[in-house]
Point group: C2
Chain length 365, copies 2
């Protein structure tokens, strides 16, 4: 998009009528026991015998009132996002959603036993089919994989790649190593074969400090620096030649923020011009590759208090196609529907963000 975006009066009426595709909704495994029907005897016994209580992440601690919508916690104490009916009532209905993509965050990446990790990922996926996809036609889901062993992850993609409910393979941004490395290419080969998007979500457990000069002290620092992990993954995927090897691969960045993107594009383009001899397979501007292959969800929005700055950022990205709507449910980012998107977006761009970009990228047509 080379034309400047101008501020236009937004009418809430338009937004309410627009079909919405939510690209980041979190369904939650209520307990490890909920996966037992989908686990082979061997691993069910293993979990019981070892007294393993939980692999559920703790993204919405009860004492942190801003972490999840208070009405998303279930009366029986089950975690936010663990009940289909509540999710239908709180997300699908009020937003008039055409589709919502489930990204189930589960601790398979924390398991150092690769076979156990793969079994847990399979169980999560079969649980998603039985408890979510089979019951609600507006839902789509991401295949959970244990990226520790990319060959096993690829096997899981082959097992489920033709299921119409799965549109994406879910990876965590803090990975064992940079995602451009050939180590991970079996995952991309399988994803491309089935036309699945690679979704990279905030979080994860890497063996490395969360900042490139060591461990920070505070969660605030940790969360702010998640965007650095996303930037590193983009740089790695582009520089290693992943998109020359897999030209139809598409990558969605989930809960990444996006206002850092123009500066990254500029810095990468500029230094590619001076150092491109190192990576001769990258035969065009990195920013062009990024615009073609990457998309980013809009929540949480790391925006300026001045609305015109956000529009400048979108214009600097030079694409109207890159942003995808997300609620990040049950994460609590806004109180009113109108706050979920920046005010004063041009209606054509708003429609692209609310649904059309996702429709095209995830091939909902």
């Amino acid at each position: 998009m080379d034309d400047a975006i101008t501020l236009e009066k937004e009418t809430l009426g338009n937004r309410a009528k627009t079909a919405v595709i939510d690209c980041d909704v979190h369904n939650a495994v209520p307990s490890i026991q909920a996966l037992f029907p989908y686990l082979p005897d061997r691993w069910r016994d293993y979990v019981v015998e070892h007294g393993i209580k939980s692999l559920e992440p703790n993204y919405y601690p009860r004492g942190s009132s801003l972490s999840a919508r208070p009405d998303s916690v279930l009366p029986n104490g089950d975690p936010p996002g663990s009940d289909l009916e509540v999710l239908q009532r709180q997300v699908l209905e009020p937003w008039n959603m055409e589709y919502a993509i489930l990204n189930c965050l589960y601790g398979v990446q924390m398991i150092h036993n690769e076979d156990w990790a793969a079994a847990m990922a399979r169980a999560v996926n079969d649980w998603q089919i039985a408890e979510w996809l089979d019951k609600e036609p507006r839902l789509r889901a991401s295949i959970v994989v244990a990226s520790q062993n990319p060959e096993q992850a690829a096997e899981e993609i082959h097992r489920l790649g033709k299921h119409p409910g799965f549109v994406q393979v879910l990876l965590m941004v803090r990975s064992e190593m940079l995602y451009g490395k050939k180590h991970f290419w079996p995952i991309y080969e399988a994803a491309q074969q089935y036309g699945l998007v690679i979704g990279i979500h905030a979080g994860g457990v890497t063996g490395y400090p969360t900042m490139p000069v060591g461990w920070p002290s505070y969660y605030l620092e940790d969360y702010v620096s998640q965007s650095q992990a996303f930037q590193s993954q983009i740089v790695s995927l582009v520089c290693e030649g992943t998109f020359q090897k897999f030209p139809r691969l598409r990558v969605a960045l989930l809960e990444s923020g996006f206002t850092w993107m123009p500066a990254l594009m500029w810095r990468l383009d500029k230094n590619w011009k001076g150092l491109r001899r190192e990576i001769p397979w990258v035969d065009r501007l990195p920013s062009e590759i990024i615009r073609e292959h990457f998309r980013l969800t809009i929540q949480p929005l790391d925006e300026s208090p001045k609305p015109e700055h956000l529009l400048q950022t979108m214009e600097q990205m030079r694409s109207q196609d890159m942003l995808l709507f997300s609620t990040d449910y049950p994460h609590w980012h806004f109180d009113e529907k109108e706050e979920a998107l920046p005010a004063n977006l041009p209606p054509s761009l708003e429609k692209k963000i609310l649904s059309e970009n996702a429709r095209s990228f995830y091939r909902f047509d």
Copy 2:
């Protein structure tokens, strides 16, 4: 700066007449033997007996034609930046420089023996006084310290803090740990006492991977990700309360780029609002602390090909005071003097960048 910057016609005549303060010029130790007159016998013998050939960095490899100005390499093979007369002819004269600040990059940080590292830092500083500061009144310099041992580094600052030639303490952005940690506070206490700026320059050797999810494969990735290290240091210095403890401390980021700054400010401000209970000593917006305490040099410029985007970035920083002119000599960023600054800067802003911001920040008045 809340007012939008408008594109104005730049006249080269104005630029030529403006006094210039260059905040990032690299003088180079020509060889380890050049430091022998400034080393105690113990350490001179140590270097000779162990056959240590060099601690000079290799930032300008001969085969890489874009790394340094070709005319900065000396006829005798000495490295770029190692001769005062050449530097006077290539930097001070053509730019009509009022002051230039020397940042001598030397491998003291690589030495694991703290006493030896401190001795080498002292030698570099005494060499700077004798060979540069005493000979050229337009030069100022940064005190080289071995940050491995902050107490010893503080001793070196106390030794030289009253010398009028030193205006800054030089640290490398890839540090042993995050610079906000109390481990480093003795350095800041001494710097504040003498009114010295803390200069953090690209480069350095941390024990951690240069990206927060592991080691990249290519120098291009390494260089692009240096800006992540700078962002991490800002976050750490702000969140740890460094500026509450040392309210007069000033930090210059050298060869950092700056177009990533608005997005960092937005992301840090937004998440501080939600998580400030973790760091109650930070009692105002992090972006306000950044605007007060940090400055950034302009070369290398990680800019958009569209000049209006750069002006938007400057406007988004909401300060006209933060950018400092630098040539980054002998690094080769531009062929013509006119290319060193963005074209079409408003004259008042250009004057601030060329000299007034540095004059105020480094207290040249």
